[in-house]
């Protein structure tokens, strides 16, 4: 049974006890434990169930590679599924739950799948659920959905109580990995004066070196690490970050780091995670290597784990993974585990070395300690259910004839090592197959390239395939200098001298024993998390899957949350054997960021709650808020849809606002309208090209309505242009169009007409703009005083500057409502004050603020179009009867040529008309006019559609505008519109100007 040893645990503080729960059971750990080490210290090796067969599973690794020990962590709002116990730092009060079982971890009904495993081969879902077709939707999918997914989704009503943030930084050299290779590289680059950022995903510097032993420059590795870290910490140009993982490498040296600040201290006032957004000129990845499992029958039973992990638990956390630990290997490194465990008092009954001649110096050391070593031997199968009880051993080159049964409660296995090449590959770095070491390593000549064609990623140490301890630092030294040379920096310091045992080469062992039959291969796991076995990959190959990418998807190999960190190489080696092709020909699957899953919270950063998105506020925003505004988003602005009084419905509010405005006085915050200044000797010529009408003939002091089309002829914006002086125009745009139209102008000025003398500036926010609307509008302005706003001095479509009630204003006589209307523009900082003055002074006329819906109703009663209602990107001005706003005197304007094309000039285009229901009801928005017959898809033919539809309080009936085939020629005709409930509503085609057709009310 696993337990806390009497000694060991260089990362733990045994004097500091910590209490935590696992499936509700109280357990004790010590400071410095991971959840995995603490569970094993409590004798808990069974940590979860597998996804497909619900097999009992224990921990396999000791770090980011862990596929099995996934937990639901925390409770309530802080519950999070699928957290790796191996990378979860223990804290007092931690609550963990194992996953994927029912009713309990020990007694799981889903394990029935295990008995059925021979009926659940690779591609089972594809093969089984295709027939009969209707069963998928009604039978299979509901069942699969119920059983699918790892862990529990957080409850829908839960809200993440933690905060997250981003951090941007620019460095010369970013180093991913704080092992000895990364630290050495940082020391060289730091001494050379480069700005350096070193990220280490764990809470400790030094990586594996302190566990693996040997010496560096005559020091024990952990002492060397401490010294180098102290040296780096004293350099102002070097930044060290623990608990920060290099998550992804992107184009041009963009690198994402994922810092887990407070995972181990929930409830503190620190952000939980911080996403580092790093712009690095050079990136050096010193990400080490991950040990591979061996493929033998029963290699997934709790207690079977990586040899390096067994060693880590003993040395780092003082935890023995078992009382009797058998070792099985194809290389020398696993002997270190055997020796370490033996020295710490754990029985190592046997070392099975699959190589016929065994190992080198390390094997001799083990033998000298009296350990039993059996070269050429292998594991035939593992016994035990929820825990290893014994292993049956056999010859590696046979078919699994059992020679002996060895009692043990854990197995430490090593199938060699795979460099962590993920970050190198994210941005296109290529790999070579290293036959001697049986691993993929970076091909230096095929590095990811930056904007200048130069490599920007360099790989150092074990990640570069320099696994032998003496080579690791030599490689890191050379690679660091290589990266520094690209930054025009050099280092004088010599490479450290490493003393360690020489190792003999490994033997590539992809199946144990070599000639294992179907029964053994069907229990030899490649991918633990997704339950993919050697037999599944072989079956895929037999069924014709040759591409490793296809095999991955068919078998789900490497598709789990660990992304195949342990399984990929073993899987593709198995595939290459089955296809009888060399491993390089089969190739690897694609490595994609992030390296391990990162939280959605970190990606979102600070953007949540009030700052989820910027909300644009006008200077009068607070007044609206305080006066019942029912908000509507318009672009990023918030505009009042209407102002509701206590107990009032929206409909009632809009009716009240419309009636008050038509009969007396309304007030509208129009500040959101775009206001773009266009100035220069060529400004008139420029606007003549942008608008369909002629603006260059406009006189200073006057306004003109204009339409703007894109190059394809489609109407994209409209608004009133005011000429300020000979050289200067102010163009009003729609609320949503301001930024886009400004960009559109700059695009044409910068890219096409770069020699025209025109400057533009977006002044939208410089002014608050208030529309004073209604028969009493003039009286209100006269009451404020200071300006002559009579018809003679300020006629319709004129503007004038002056001081109104003490405010410096510009008043435009323009109307979007059909009433007497003044739009008053005032510096934004005085907007609220002017609004308050108007509000107070207007009381005697029952001044009524109105929102966007009343604005819509007023304009629809007048038959004015609205961009986005009457237009949808497929409508040209001619469709809307706006031919009068298109100048016939101009040679050209943007969209002119497009509007002359056959389809645009087609008389059969739908055209704008007014619509009046026979029963006075309101047509459904977007309703279609039904025509005779059906189309090729057996759908009813159509002859038009509704673009705007409202209840008109002024006329007390439904009014609408729509585009109808030959509409303007069919006045008085009654046609049917869909009503959204399967029936139709009859409406008469009429003029779209329902109110004051001769315009007498706005021109008074």
């Amino acid at each position: 049974m696993s337990k806390r040893l009497s000694k060991g645990g260089r990362l733990t503080d045994r004097s500091h006890l910590m209490s935590f729960t696992f499936n509700g059971r109280q357990m004790m750990g010590v400071a410095g434990d991971t959840l995995a080490s603490a569970l094993m210290a409590n004798g808990q090796m069974l940590m979860g169930r597998s996804f497909k067969y619900h097999r009992p599973r224990g921990v396999v690794g000791s770090g980011a590679e862990e596929p099995n020990a996934l937990m639901g962590l925390g409770t309530g709002d802080r519950f999070e599924p699928n957290q790796r116990a191996t990378t979860t730092e223990l804290f007092d009060g931690l609550s963990a739950k194992s996953q994927n079982h029912w009713p309990s971890l020990n007694a799981d009904i889903g394990v029935a799948n295990n008995a059925l495993s021979r009926f659940l081969p690779a591609g089972f879902y594809y093969k089984m659920f295709i027939h009969p077709r209707p069963f998928w939707k009604h039978v299979y999918e509901p069942i699969i959905r119920h059983s699918a997914g790892l862990g529990l989704a957080p409850k829908a009503e839960s809200r993440d109580p933690d905060r997250y943030e981003h951090f941007h930084t620019h460095v010369d050299l970013a180093i991913v990995g704080g092992g000895i290779a990364g630290l050495h590289a940082a020391r060289l680059a730091g001494a050379a004066g480069l700005t350096v950022l070193v990220m280490e995903q764990t809470a400790h510097w030094g990586g594996r070196a302190p566990v693996d032993g040997g010496s560096i420059d005559g020091q024990a590795p952990d002492e060397w690490v401490d010294d180098v870290v102290a040296e780096l910490a004293a350099m102002p140009n070097v930044h060290l970050r623990l608990r920060t993982m290099g998550a992804g490498v992107y184009d041009h040296g963009y690198l994402l780091g994922y810092e887990r600040i407070a995972d181990h201290a929930p409830g503190s006032d620190a952000p939980r995670h911080r996403l580092w957004r790093i712009r690095a000129t050079q990136i050096l990845t010193a990400t080490g290597a991950i040990e591979r499992p061996l493929s033998f029958a029963g290699n997934d039973k709790p207690g079977v784990m990586l040899a390096s992990a067994a060693r880590d638990y003993a040395v780092n956390w003082g935890v023995g993974v078992g009382d009797r630990v058998a070792v099985v290997t194809n290389n020398d490194d696993a002997y270190r585990t055997a020796i370490t465990l033996h020295q710490m008092g754990i029985t190592v009954p046997i070392i099975l070395d699959a190589r016929p001649a065994g190992g080198g110096a390390l094997m001799q050391q083990a033998e000298a300690l009296g350990l039993r070593v059996e070269p050429g031997w292998a594991i035939a199968k593992v016994d035990g259910h929820k825990q290893v009880s014994s292993i049956r051993v056999c010859a590696q080159d046979g078919s699994g004839v059992v020679q002996e049964e060895i009692a043990c409660d854990a197995v430490a296995m090593s199938g060699g090592w795979s460099p962590v090449v993920h970050l190198w590959s994210h941005c296109g770095g290529k790999l070579d197959w290293d036959e001697a070491q049986a691993l993929f390593r970076p091909r230096a000549e095929a590095a990811p390239l930056s904007h200048d064609g130069q490599p920007f990623v360099t790989v150092a140490g074990a990640a570069d395939g320099a696994l032998q301890h003496a080579d690791t630092l030599a490689n890191a030294d050379a690679q660091a200098r290589r990266a520094m040379a690209r930054l025009a920096a050099t280092a004088d310091a010599p490479a450290p001298v490493v003393a360690t045992e020489a190792e003999t080469p490994l033997a590539p062992i992809w199946l144990m024993p070599a000639n294992a039959g179907p029964e053994l291969k069907g229990k030899a796991w490649l991918d633990y998390q997704n339950d993919v076995k050697v037999s599944d990959v072989e079956l895929a190959a037999r069924e014709g899957y040759e591409s490793v990418e296809h095999t991955k998807r068919y078998t789900t190999l490497g598709m789990a949350t660990d992304q195949g960190k342990l399984s990929n190489i073993n899987g593709l080696a198995t595939l290459s054997r089955a296809l009888d092709e060399a491993i390089p020909q089969v190739g690897t699957t694609t490595f994609r960021p992030p390296y391990t899953p990162i939280s959605m919270g970190a990606i979102g950063g600070e953007a949540r709650g009030d700052i989820f998105q910027p909300v644009r506020r006008t200077p009068m925003h607070d007044w609206h808020q305080d006066n019942g505004a029912d908000w509507e988003p318009v672009g990023q602005w918030r505009r009042p849809f209407c102002y509701r009084r206590a107990g009032e419905t929206r409909h009632a509010a809009v009716t009240r606002e419309v009636t008050a405005t038509r009969n007396s006085l309304g007030l509208l915050d129009a500040s959101t309208l775009g206001k773009i200044i266009v100035k220069g000797p060529d400004a008139g010529r420029f606007l003549d090209m942008l608008y369909t009408g002629k603006m260059s003939t406009l006189k200073p002091g006057k306004c003109r309505y204009g339409l703007m089309c894109n190059e394809n002829g489609f109407l994209m914006d409209d608004g009133v242009v005011a000429r300020i002086d000979e050289d200067t125009f102010l163009c009003h745009t729609t609320t949503g169009g301001a930024d886009h139209i400004h960009s559109h102008m700059e695009d044409w000025l910068q890219c096409e007409w770069w020699d025209w003398k025109v400057y533009t500036a977006n002044l939208t926010e410089q002014y608050a703009q208030i529309a004073v609307v209604g028969p009493n509008a003039r009286k209100l302005l006269e009451k404020l005083g200071g300006m002559d706003v009579s018809k003679e001095v300020l006629p319709f479509m004129g503007w004038v500057d002056g001081k109104l009630g003490g405010f410096p204003v510009r008043i435009y006589r323009i109307s979007f409502s059909g009433e007497l209307s003044y739009e008053i523009s005032v510096p934004a900082s005085m907007g609220r004050a002017l609004w308050d003055s108007l509000w107070t002074a207007g009381a005697e006329w029952n001044i009524t603020p109105y929102g966007t819906e009343t604005l819509h109703v007023l304009r629809a009663e007048k038959g004015f179009i609205m961009i986005g209602d009457e237009t949808d990107g497929t409508v040209i001005p001619q469709d809307l009867g706006l031919g009068w706003a298109i100048s016939k005197k101009k040679d050209d304007y943007l969209g002119k040529r497009a509007q002359e094309r056959t389809h645009m000039a087609d008389p059969n285009r739908w055209a704008l008309v007014g619509l009046e229901t026979l029963d006075g009801s309101v047509l459904e928005d977007g309703a279609y006019a039904v025509a005779e017959g059906v189309n090729a898809n057996k759908q009813s033919n159509t002859q038009g559609r509704v673009t705007s539809t409202y209840y008109s309080p002024t006329l007390d009936k439904g009014i609408a505008m729509g585009l109808v085939h030959n509409g303007p020629d069919r006045m008085g005709e009654v046609i049917a519109f869909t009503d959204g409930e399967g029936g139709t509503t009859e409406a008469r085609i009429v003029s779209q100007v329902f109110y004051d057709p001769d315009g007498s009310k706005q021109d008074v």
């Binding site: 950063g605 506020r617 005085m830």
Partner: protein, 190 residues
């Protein structure tokens, strides 16, 4: 005449740094050929400050001239003087193609003050904030999280940030969030 008020009327937050609505600030956008002697003379005459080089900011308190783009600068002046300076600049630039506009009301200005200034800024803007790249005397037009902004440092412990007036509340909330205690990064030297 009515009193003008800044977007957030002097709102302030004290955290890792102090965040403060800096109140009304006169701001004038000038576009034109910044290399022409006429333009340089006009700026010198109106502002008593040199034309800034690329990415440079010549700022002294409420007054300053800041580089915005190859053909645009931003003039800082007391709020009440903006109209007068617009007039005088427009007059002296009458003969050369240019654009002079009062944009004081289109913007909000925030001041950040404190030792952890760079760390707080780095949470919300992607510019290089190392002292070598960004120091008093330089200006950047960039983004702060989801909105555009310009930022310069008045001294090693304080910076001013300009954004559009309509997003003043967002900017204030954003900066206050970034300055919230507990989020110390200890990256840039105080």
């Amino acid at each position: 005449m009515s009193e003008a008020v800044s977007a957030l009327s002097g709102a302030a937050y004290d955290g890792m740094v102090q965040v403060r609505d800096a109140g009304l600030q006169g701001m004038i956008t000038v576009r034109g050929d910044m290399t022409s002697p006429d333009m340089q003379d006009a700026i010198m005459q109106a502002c008593r400050l040199d034309m800034p080089g690329t990415l440079q900011a010549n700022v002294a308190g409420e007054r300053g001239v800041l580089w915005m783009s190859p053909d645009e600068i931003l003039v800082l002046c007391p709020y009440a003087e903006a109209g007068k300076i617009v007039q005088s600049l427009s007059n002296s630039l009458r003969s050369c193609h240019s654009l002079v506009l009062d944009v004081s009301d289109a913007r909000a200005v925030f001041q950040l003050r404190g030792d952890r200034l760079r760390d707080v800024l780095a949470k919300v803007t992607p510019i290089d904030l190392s002292p070598q790249a960004f120091a008093p005397g330089t200006v950047r037009r960039t983004r702060f999280a989801q909105v555009s902004a310009a930022v310069w440092m008045d001294d090693p412990r304080s910076a001013r940030i300009v954004c559009f007036r309509s997003v003043a509340q967002y900017m204030f909330d954003l900066l206050s969030t970034a300055a919230q205690p507990g989020g110390e990064v200890d990256y840039f030297e105080a």
